[in-house]
């Protein structure tokens, strides 16, 4: 049965966009926890945690996200769980986000000059106090722009979850396309919705970066 695109279909797309946002936030949260662990392990960990964190990051950054998705989708089934695609997609995207956020945050902390560490050590601060009061407040300022930029990248990568049948906005577009066969209209709408979500984020990230560079070179 073929039918044309109707206004109610737009509601379906927007409803699915909600799921895109949800899966982005979920994987950003879990990825953030993982990323923090990776950054800390690489910076302050002993030989073995550092090795594990490095190997994890290198491995994940050499794997297509689609493969991560297939592995977690079929891997979880293999372990005997009958889980909805949401869990598999969330797990894969969290791992992906963790690897990238870990590197961003490690870089931001490393960007703090050594004199800051030395000065705070001279004030007899403990390692925790150094991080809490001196290093992290400065590192967060540096990390903010690339982190928000990565958030936009994560949103775009959630589109791949469509390929294991998770109904987010791209999958919704595919479903509507199968019913109406008006691909150009539908995928243009899908692209517009992504753009509306991502553009403010990347523009904000770019502005932050310019501001930071200006304040650093001044």
């Amino acid at each position: 049965m073929m039918r044309t695109f109707m206004i109610t279909d737009l509601y379906f797309l927007l409803y699915a966009a909600g799921w895109t946002v949800i899966i982005t936030l979920v994987s950003f949260c879990f990825g953030g926890i993982l990323g923090l662990a990776i950054a800390l392990a690489k910076l302050f960990g002993g030989k073995i945690p550092r090795l594990i964190a490095t190997a994890f990051v290198e491995l994940l950054q050499s794997t297509p996200v689609l493969m991560l998705l297939f592995l977690s989708f079929y891997g979880l089934n293999y372990l005997g769980f009958r889980l909805p695609p949401f869990i598999a997609a969330g797990a894969a995207l969290s791992l992906f986000a963790g690897a990238f956020l870990g590197e961003i945050w490690r870089g931001s902390i490393e960007a703090i000059e050594k004199s800051q560490w030395e000065a705070s050590e001279a004030l007899a601060m403990t390692r925790f106090q150094q991080c809490r009061y001196i290093i992290f407040p400065q590192a967060i300022r540096i990390a903010l722009a690339p982190t928000i930029g990565f958030l936009a990248q994560l949103i775009k990568n959630t589109s791949i979850a469509a390929l294991i049948g998770f109904v987010e906005i791209t999958r919704a577009g595919q479903i509507l396309n199968n019913m109406t066969f008006q691909p150009f209209l539908i995928f243009s709408l899908v692209a517009v919705i992504y753009f509306v979500i991502c553009y403010p984020l990347s523009a904000y990230s770019q502005r932050l970066e310019e501001k930071l560079n200006a304040s650093r070179s001044a």
Binding site: N77, E103, G107, F184
Partner: protein
């Protein structure tokens, strides 16, 4: 656990997987070569062209950078026939990847071109260099050296994202894997093997990029993907 891993039925299909590897390398290298060309032209247009050209290219870059590759591929795959071009899935995949990488590399090259101070170009003019010589020796090559790590990161991501084109039924490694998976029902085993192949290919690719940097610039620079995401950290003086 009731399930036993069996790799044999997948390993028997190794010749097909190797065909997939070759297709992926062909698609990836063509897309990278063309995409970088688009990037250099786009960045030159933005940096040295008239204002309207800068605006147009800027619009293209923002649209591509804020929409997913998968949606871009669908638009190209379904859109080109509507415009009257009958193309194969592989051609559509190539077009999509080139358009995508073109936008990202335009921005990377542009930031490199902007790092070349005008005095350098004036010095080139003073030495009676032709515009082409100035572009090649004074602008392009030093800029390439500056943005090389970021460029390698982006190109690696493009290489990895060739796996997505299987969604529009283009032939490459992932689509071969999907075929094998549906015929052997050994899903997990298939994707474990294919993931290993991807990791090996990507590590080799990054090694080649590192080697190229040695030949071009004679220096070792950090070429990791994540450096693209932390531009601030890379500019800190030692």
């Amino acid at each position: 656990m009731a399930y036993q891993m069996q790799f044999r039925s997948v390993l028997q299909r190794m010749p097909e997987l190797m065909d997939g590897v070759i297709l992926t390398i062909q698609l990836g290298s063509t897309a990278i070569a063309l995409g970088l060309t688009v990037g250099v032209v786009g960045a030159a247009g933005r940096s040295y062209g008239p204002r309207w050209l800068d605006r147009c290219i800027g619009g293209y870059v923002e649209v591509i950078r804020n929409t997913p590759l998968l949606v871009q591929l669908f638009l190209v795959f379904f859109g080109l026939p509507l415009l009257g071009f009958r193309v194969s899935a592989n051609t559509a995949a190539l077009v999509g990847l080139v358009v995508n990488l073109g936008a990202y590399s335009t921005e990377i090259f542009r930031s490199g071109f902007q790092a070349i101070v005008p005095a350098q170009i004036q010095a080139g003019i003073a030495l009676a260099m032709s515009p082409w010589q100035i572009f090649r020796h004074v602008i392009f090559f030093p800029a390439l050296k500056i943005v090389y790590p970021a460029l390698v990161g982006q190109v690696t991501l493009t290489f990895l994202s060739t796996s997505i084109v299987s969604a529009i039924s283009a032939a490459e490694l992932t689509s071969v894997a999907n075929t094998i998976e549906s015929q052997t029902f050994r899903s997990l085993e298939t994707y474990i093997i294919v993931t290993i192949i991807y990791v090996v290919m990507t590590l080799l690719f990054r090694f080649l990029c590192w080697l190229l940097a040695q030949v071009l610039f004679g220096s070792v620079r950090d070429y990791r993907i994540s450096r693209r995401l932390t531009p601030v950290a890379t500019e800190v003086a030692p």
